[in-house]
């Protein structure tokens, strides 16, 4: 019963106690009801059984510490390159939410046909957000690492621009619909590939590029390391109600929007770096992250706690 919320010894004791009640209900059913209450308390449908070596994003560990008001060992001391300014969202937001969830994008969908190679698609499956929780805020986090060779460059050569686009529509939504991408089987992928190949062979009258909309743009200095945070609340709200085609990120040279910036992989961590031997553990902590902030109607919030002396 490794997947049970109640340990075996506790279960046996509860069954014994339930037997003393002398009701018509079977003792194990009474204990199962109690187990359901425990799951409900945490908003779970079953007991989580994560892999032992599953890494926990440092950002989430830091959010926990920030909520607890723990600034004794700032994350910048623990993790080299950490941006000291990283914190919970503003108190206006933190006081209206009580849950933060982190989502990783689906790597297998990072390329979009019809878009240049340096456009990386970030598709987050947020369909598991509990329906009883109200989404208040969502932010996209992109990790940037300094490019050491850029430190000595003049200002204008160090600057790059991050553009974030929302993918509104694909040329043919029926074929490229990924709203249920979790259920895409290998067979479906194979069929999709064949359909796309045929279209390329015979030519398609339809527009090939997806329709995108610029949602954020930011000029960044490549000689420093930090996390970039983008408010994507409106887009995330739409994904809950409508199709989710994700976001597209491009990094370009400042002033030359048509040229992809060099060293993109080593600067903004949008893709795995196969040259780095510390991957994939490092990738897990630095890969793009979608943080959603929700409220379940209970009277708690994520505001920074004041340290109370008992």
């Amino acid at each position: 019963r490794a997947s049970a919320m109640i340990p075996e010894i506790g279960r046996n004791n509860l069954i014994e106690q339930a037997a003393k009640y002398g009701t018509n209900t079977r003792e194990d059913e009474i204990v199962n009801e109690f187990e359901k209450k425990l799951l409900n308390m945490f908003g779970l449908t079953r007991r989580p059984t994560p892999n032992e070596d599953m890494p926990i994003p440092r950002i989430m560990q830091h959010l926990y510490k920030a909520h607890m008001g723990d600034t004794s060992d700032g994350p910048h001391d623990l993790y080299p390159g950490w941006e000291p300014g990283f914190d919970l969202p503003s108190d206006d937001i933190a006081s209206t939410v009580n849950t933060a969830r982190s989502f990783h994008h689906k790597d297998e969908f990072e390329r979009i046909e019809g878009l240049p190679d340096h456009h990386i698609r970030l598709l987050f499956n947020i369909s598991t957000l509990p329906p009883n929780e109200n989404l208040k805020y969502a932010e996209l986090l992109l990790h940037r690492e300094e490019i050491k060779q850029h430190v000595s460059l003049p200002d204008e050569d160090r600057m790059q621009r991050i553009n974030i686009y929302e993918v509104i529509k694909f040329p043919d939504d029926d074929v490229t619909d990924t709203s249920s991408f979790d259920d895409v089987t290998e067979e479906q992928n194979r069929i999709l590939e064949i359909v796309n190949k045929r279209r390329n062979k015979f030519g398609s009258q339809k527009m090939r590029e997806p329709i995108t909309r610029l949602v954020a743009t930011r000029l960044v200095d490549t000689s420093n390391t930090t996390w970039e945070r983008f408010d994507v609340s409106a887009e995330t709200q739409k994904w809950l109600k409508d199709k989710n085609h994700g976001l597209v990120v491009e990094i370009v040279r400042d002033g030359d929007e048509s040229t992809p910036a060099p060293d993109v992989t080593s600067h903004v961590r949008l893709r795995r770096d196969v040259r780095n031997e510390n991957e994939p553990r490092e990738w897990h902590h630095k890969r793009p992250l979608l943080l959603t902030y929700t409220h379940d109607g209970k009277e708690t919030n994520l505001s920074r706690r004041s340290r109370k002396k008992r």
Binding site: M41, F42, G43, P48, I56, L63, Y64, M68, K298, R310
Partner: protein, 116 residues
Amino acid sequence: KAHRKKERKPRRKSCQRQDLYVDFSDVNWDDWIVAPHGYHAFYCNGECPFPLAEYMNATNHAIVQTLVNSVDPSLTPKPCCVPTELSPIAMLYVDECELVVLKTYQQMAVEGCGCR
């Protein structure tokens, strides 16, 4: 000079907050709860004897129940020692979909006890 001390019945503790540290590894939850490793949940225990002291936070109902109990204990027991103030805790955990979640849960730790 032999002086026989008057033997007193040990006094039962009056209603107050008691220590209880919930260690998540004790209930085998440490594989999915990342932080904290446990927390001070406390519990309430003790008598609610007459006279109900100020710190017992007795309600009007508890005072009347004490009166009735004094007249005839078979009609009602003395009031119970229960949590009167609870506080939330935050938990960082991995959910059933392997998503990492930070969530605050209300009424997880006892802040104050009283006779109710």
